[in-house]
């Protein structure tokens, strides 16, 4: 990597400040003792953190978001694997069309998806259900899961699989013992990226979720429409703390760069 000049460094610094300031301000405001959003904070208090305890729907929405993200990302990856292997390996009619179809949710505004799913799910009796949330989230995270899965499938040398076949391995054995382990880093990265996108999603979900199936961002969004107190800042601070802890743990375990950039390195 080339060394950065002073201008580039200043730019980077500005960029980081721009990204971090809102996060830091939110965390700071969360410690206010006042009953409204005030800044700067002069007295410190955990009042609004304790307050979360009085709103169990925030806690249940958090767990729902976690479950929704984990499940829809896992299913999206499960769909991506055969699709990615087919796209990477074979020239077939409709290959381009298939790729475009899987990637298309990226290009459709989430508002549009939200309204479409709302009508569709109401029609088929899934309106306001968790199953509906999972289905819609699979659609929006699929491009992310597929991108990284595809990258690792393309990088796979088919001669390695041929070698396994020549040693007497059946197709199922090759898939289980060779192909899947070798694309695993891509699957994990794809799942992680999909999870982040699912956890974050509010524009579409706000149309689909009903009381009892609200995700955390939706719950927060609805809360600030009726209230001006700093509860959402303490909830945000908790989410930020959990995210940071998770990232540190992941970095210790796997190396973040590898995970998010999707660079596969095998063995240990």
């Amino acid at each position: 990597m080339s060394r950065n000049g002073p201008l580039a460094l200043a730019y980077h610094a500005l960029f980081v400040v721009f990204m971090l300031t809102p996060i830091l301000v939110v965390c700071w405001v969360a410690f206010t003792p006042e009953g409204f959003l005030s800044f700067p904070v002069r007295h410190w208090s955990l009042r609004w953190f304790y307050a979360i305890g009085r709103y169990p729907e925030f806690v249940s929405a958090f767990w729902r978001s976690l479950g929704l993200g984990a499940l829809s990302s896992a299913l999206a990856v499960a769909v991506s694997v055969p699709a990615a292997l087919a796209i990477a390996r074979h020239q077939f009619a409709g290959r381009e069309a298939m790729t475009t179809l899987f990637m298309s949710p990226l290009m459709i505004p989430h508002v549009v998806l939200g309204i479409a799913f709302l009508r569709f799910f109401t029609e088929i009796g899934l309106g306001g259900t968790f199953a509906g949330l999972v289905l819609s989230h699979i659609v929006i995270v699929l491009p992310f899961a597929l991108r990284l899965t595809l990258a690792s499938a393309v990088g796979l040398d088919s001669r390695i699989e041929h070698a396994a076949v020549s040693l007497g391995a059946s197709e199922a054995t090759v898939l289980k013992r060779i192909t899947l382990p070798l694309v695993l880093p891509g699957l994990v990265s794809g799942w992680a990226l999909a999870f982040i996108n699912s956890f974050d999603e509010v524009t579409m979900t706000v149309f689909i979720a009903a009381p009892g199936t609200e995700t955390l961002p939706v719950r927060m969004f609805l809360y600030i429409q009726d209230n001006i107190d700093p509860l959402v800042t303490s909830v945000s601070a908790c989410v930020i703390a959990i995210t940071v802890a998770a990232l540190i743990a992941l970095d210790r375990a796997y190396g973040l760069e590898r995970l998010l950039v999707g660079k596969g390195s095998h063995g240990r």
Partner: protein, 308 residues
């Protein structure tokens, strides 16, 4: 009937013919090289035997049995790919054990045979390493052990030494030949290196544009090339008045074809000369015996034995 028989084997990719009517009989225990320039169809031929490329026409028989009717996984051939194609997520031991596992060999015997195979290729001390912790030559030997351990009916080697440096390649050639002699496995080696083919093989198949130009022992092909292509591919050749003469067969003498030394290059154990003559530029190779040799610009006379 030959052990392995390729009968009029052809492969076309679209309009392009990669292999064109190749017929070849390989005897049991024989070491055969497919030799030819890049793109002449060597890999395609090997892949057809392995079963990863389907022939457009022709037949392959192994011990009289139609090999094309057998799935690649059931052919029982040992393959060393040009890129080695080791399983990157498995140790050397696990790589070598894979084929035995597929055969359902019990763990105790498996462990013993894997250890023997790694010992055979001189990698006993590297058994627990992953491929990326091994050098190119070591990886190549793991690939060889992995192919040999299943006791294949035929060993197929696709340019297995091409990624090695000259010294290591020479060592590996000797090792390869020794291992093949010890184990006695019928072997087909693909290479574009004529020295490698000559050094290792019982017979060479010189290929050009998908066809076999000559199938013969290395000595026979070198001394009696069937075509001009074979002659030029198997080393430097002079065409003097329509007669092919190897550069090392030409000597300096008191009388003979008159010429002038254009360039003289010292190559350690021999001298390489380019001599201008009335019949064109002639390449001459002379052993370095320590004696004084003609200088550049010197007038010389060339003589050679009259044979092809």
């Amino acid at each position: 009937m030959a052990f392995l028989a390729l009968d009029n084997l052809s492969k076309r990719f679209g309009t392009q013919t990669a292999v064109d009517g190749l017929s070849l009989g390989v005897e049991k225990g024989e070491f055969i090289s497919l030799l030819g320039p890049s793109g002449c169809g060597k890999t395609t031929t090997l892949q057809m035997i392995a079963g990863f490329v389907e022939p457009s026409s022709g037949a392959i028989r192994l011990e009289g049995e139609d090999l094309l009717a057998v799935k690649p996984a059931k052919r029982g051939l040992g393959i060393v790919f040009q890129s080695y194609a080791l399983f990157p997520h498995m140790t050397a031991t696990e790589n070598v054990a894979f084929g035995l596992e597929m055969q359902g060999i019990a763990a105790a015997e498996r462990a013993r045979r894997v250890a023997d195979a790694l010992e055979l290729v001189g990698l006993g001390a590297f058994a627990a390493r992953y491929p990326r912790q091994l050098s190119g030559g070591q990886q190549q030997r793991v690939a060889l052990a992995r192919a040999l351990v299943i006791r294949p009916r035929i060993l197929l080697l696709d340019e297995p030494l091409s990624n090695l440096d000259a010294k290591l390649r020479e060592e590996m050639q000797i090792e390869l030949r020794q291992i093949q002699r010890t184990v006695g496995t019928t072997t087909i080696l693909v290479t574009h290196d004529q020295a490698e083919a000559m050094a290792l093989s019982d017979r060479v198949v010189v290929m050009n544009k998908g066809r076999a130009e000559q199938i013969a022992t290395p000595l026979e092909a070198y001394e009696h090339p069937a075509t001009a292509f074979v002659a030029s591919f198997l080393g430097k050749t002079n065409l003097v008045n329509g007669v092919a003469v190897r550069p090392e067969r030409i000597a300096f003498a008191a009388a003979g074809l008159v010429g002038t030394v254009r360039t003289r290059i010292f190559q350690g154990n021999h001298w390489l000369y380019q001599v201008d003559t009335a019949s064109g530029l002639v390449t001459v190779i002379r052993q370095n015996t320590g004696d004084a040799m003609p200088e550049e610009g010197a007038a010389v006379h060339l003589v050679w034995e009259a044979r092809a």
